[in-house]
Amino acid sequence: MKVTLHVWRQAGPAAPGRFVRYDMTDVSPDMSFLEMLDVLNQQLIARREEPIAFDHDCREGICGACGMVINGRPHGPQRATTACQLHMRTFPDGAELWIEPWRARAFPLIKDLVVDRGALDRIVQAGGFITVRTGSAPEANAIPVPKRDADLAMDAAACIGCGACVAACPNASAMLFVAAKVSHLGLLPQGQPERSTRVANLVAQMDAEGFGACTNHGECMAACPKEISIDFIARLNRDYIKAAISHEG
């Protein structure tokens, strides 16, 4: 099949960026989207042009490294699918595709499609954990967890930290990311002692990083490759308010 690509090229944070058009022929429908970019990059290298920089690693949809906006949608058009797991058969022959990096103030651009998502790491560092020193844990089955709670915690814990939720949000909010971590740990008995401080610290760091606020667009959930529900944002808001009025935060 044939596709026409318009790829955002930008040499560095200070350089001007622009879309560059590439016409691809002989694209196999069985190629993943990133394999298609690999093929393009090999062609660019053969022509002594600079290949397109993009983050990727596991190519199994779990590491969260890859991420690009394809025709206006983070990770492209397919539900619950990262860019690396998107296959070219998803697109019609002759498709025209616009490929851009995540755009958010909290994700400064590094090069082409690569952005710095260190803000998400700093949010976790602010309290996205349960404090337990190695060696101090009680016997695992001493803490029964109702299956329903464990399953719901797992739904939230499935977040891969790719940042698609931020890229999808008109406010560039990281609420779904923060809500997933707050809910994952807050649903489990092990996470109770730090529940209030955790939510307060995470939200404070999120604000400090320059992410926007949530105004209930729901775009984050639609873009999330792990289909994390915005119900968790409601849970986050409830925990946050509870922490604030109880002065435990």
Binding site: D30, M31, G61, Q190
Partner: protein, 637 residues
């Protein structure tokens, strides 16, 4: 070079406890004076960095990914073993130990494996306390499933994302220490060399992958947790960035490399679809709990699978290994898949595939139960292949997945360079010639949480280390060598791309040092690798600059190291004139086509000392003594 395993004396079951009681401690105030460098942030690296920082050490942690959370441990699907015996099915520390030694075809060190089995139970406690959402039963207690090569259910899991959840647990513990400023994290930073001063590891040279800046980092000990080298085959289930560079550069500085030819080819991966293929995707071994593996009895049978009646199907694993059936160990399952495909009975395009069929399990348990157990795996399969495993069997084929070989380490996980440690997949220690499923996560976390934090103290308490900074001539010299090499790669103005060289190397190894090996092929591969390596430095094209985010340059450095390492791999495979576990030499097999070991001649760990690029390495042998288990021909029939 001398290999001293430092295995404690006394009964196997008491060795670790006795060792812990005897090793030297660093007092809390002195811990604050030490800096430890940890390279890699996967299960082993993140758990070690977090635990060391909790103890009071200052830690610098490096990873090439943009975040510590992206290390490839995250992709492990199936589970983690532990001898909890929650299922009351007769499991025990001894049984886990025995299964692992036997599964590894009696090529691992007994003392290490026993310790691993003992620690396995602590890992589960630790992870649950961190909030890892393991699967649970309705009563709220932990659930288990079974995995290949064993007859008990001892595998803990979090849907098909066990590696992700365990890594996030370790990453969160690490993040806490970063927040407390006990760990300095360096993401997008690649280790390109080891600095050795007076025979001791004292630092590393790192390239910042964004700015291209090459810098030196000093410390009192260096821990390599940099994973395995399956990407030497080009196509593997590893993440694209996985590489041999850190351990290879350490090897060139004096660390012995053990059993490099022990590479695991995993039986259940999605087959290759075309030349564009950039990597292969694993389908968790847990699928073999309920999926049945078969090929048509007749060669060239092109009917669709559902049209082939039962009596015309060959469920070859069930036929050959009735007591383990589809849960035969990985090396055996892979080899048998290759065998039936080589006979012309393979399915799918090119005949490189076998069926993994859930029809009977769906009929027995219902679609809902199967969806609950494997839903995300089925979806992944469907996304990649556009075929629905509920309607037609999956097609699978073996692919490189894990490397049992790695840097040689003693009981303390120290390499042959004082102060240099290797943990997780980067070392060779626990899996012998074949790793059992759900054991990699166990080993990575055992090393990082519960072994290294103790044993590193024993070293630091005893050595007198001079204060030195990165202005020391050894740092300057090594840094200059790294910069020269980077500049040389950037300047290379040849005609062939880095990727083309990598593919060619991968093909060469897959054909000659993959699922089956023979002397003639190995010799030829070794010669051709030398030629390819010379061609690489003469004719590669990298482009761009060294002072920029340059992914081709990153790849070029890794391929250059693979081209040196691959020769050692073939050399090791050639020298080991026996078959054991994953290492199947066609010349050495039983009449039934099983691996035929030669314990008298090869009952040892082959630890290779570097002698120069293109120069035959020097072999050092660590004899394996089995005081508790008796090596026998592995039987899974």
């Amino acid at each position: 070079m001398e290999l001293r395993s430092k295995v404690p004396s006394g009964p196997l079951a008491e060795q670790w406890e006795r060792h812990r009681a005897e090793i030297k401690l660093v007092n809390p105030a002195n811990k604050l004076k030490h800096r430890i460098i940890v390279v890699g942030s996967g299960l082993a690296g993140a758990s070690a960095a977090a635990s060391l920082a909790e103890l009071g050490y200052n830690v610098s942690c490096f990873c090439f990914q943009d975040s510590a959370r992206r290390a490839h441990s995250i992709a492990a699907q199936g589970g983690i073993n532990a001898a909890k015996n929650y299922q009351n099915d007769g499991d025990s520390v001894f049984r886990l130990f025995y299964d692992t030694v036997k599964g590894g075809d009696f090529r691992a060190r007994e003392a290490n494996v026993y310790r691993l089995a003992q620690i396995s139970v602590n890992i589960i406690d630790q992870c649950v306390a961190q909030g890892v959402p393991f699967a649970r039963e309705y009563g709220g207690l932990l659930a288990n499933r079974s995995f290949g090569g064993v007859q008990v259910s001892r595998t803990f899991y979090a849907r098909g994302q066990t590696g992700q959840q365990l890594l996030l647990g370790a990453y969160q513990a690490l993040s806490r220490q970063i927040g407390l400023s006990k760990v300095t994290m360096y993401p997008r930073s690649e280790m390109l060399d080891l600095v050795v001063v007076d025979g001791r590891a004292r630092g590393i040279i790192v390239r910042d992958l964004v700015s291209g800046r090459v810098s030196a980092h000093g410390g009192d000990a260096v821990v390599l947790a940099t994973g395995g080298y399956s990407n030497v085959y080009y196509l593997s289930t590893n993440a694209k960035g996985c590489n041999v560079t850190a351990i290879w550069r350490a090897h060139k500085r004096g660390a012995a490399f053990a059993n490099p030819c022990f590479t695991q080819i995993h039986p259940t991966c999605i087959p290759v679809t075309g030349h564009h293929q950039a990597k292969l995707t694993l389908m968790s071994e847990s699928l073999r709990n309920d999926g049945r593996i078969w090929v048509p009895r007749r060669k060239g049978d092109t009917r669709s699978p559902n049209e082939i009646p039962d009596d015309e199907r060959d469920y070859y694993l069930e036929r050959l290994y009735p007591s383990y059936g589809n849960l035969a160990p990985r090396d055996i399952a892979s080899r048998r898949a290759k065998e039936v495909c080589d006979e012309g009975r393979g399915v799918g395009p090119g005949g490189h595939g076998v069926y993994l069929d859930f029809r009977d399990a769906i009929a027995r348990l219902g679609r809902e139960v199967i969806a609950e157990r494997y839903g995300n795996l089925f979806e992944m399969y469907q996304r990649i292949t556009a075929e629905n495993p509920f309607a037609a069997p999956m097609r699978i084929y073996p692919a490189p997945h894990y490397t049992m070989g790695g840097l040689w380490v003693d009981y303390n996980l120290m390499t042959t360079i004082d102060g240099l440690y290797a943990i997780g997949e980067a070392n060779y220690s626990d899996h012998g010639a074949n790793r059992l499923g759900a054991s990699a996560l166990m080993q990575g976390l055992a090393d990082g949480y519960f072994i290294l934090p103790y044993t590193i103290g024993d070293y630091l308490a005893q050595v007198k280390l001079d204060q030195l900074d990165t202005a020391h001539p050894a740092f300057r010299r090594t840094q200059a060598e790294v910069s020269d090499r980077v500049n040389k790669l950037v300047a290379a103005g040849g005609r062939k791309s880095v990727d083309a060289f990598h593919r060619e190397l991968g093909r060469l190894l897959w054909d000659n040092c993959g699922m089956s090996r023979a002397a003639a092929g190995l010799q030829e591969a070794r010669d051709r690798i030398c030629v390819l390596r010379e061609e690489f430095w003469r004719d590669v094209y990298v482009g761009g600059t060294g002072e920029d985010f340059n992914q081709t340059l990153e790849h070029a450095g890794r391929v250059a190291d693979f081209l040196e390492f691959a020769e050692l791999m073939c050399h090791d495979a050639l020298h080991r004139e026996e078959s054991c576990g994953c290492h199947f030499r066609e010349e050495y097999q039983t009449p039934e086509g099983e691996a035929k070991r030669d314990d008298a001649r090869f009952g040892y760990v082959a630890a290779w000392e570097f002698a120069g690029v293109g120069v035959a390495p020097v072999l050092h042998r660590e004899p394996l003594e089995f005081a508790t288990v008796h090596p026998a021909q592995r039987s899974y029939t």
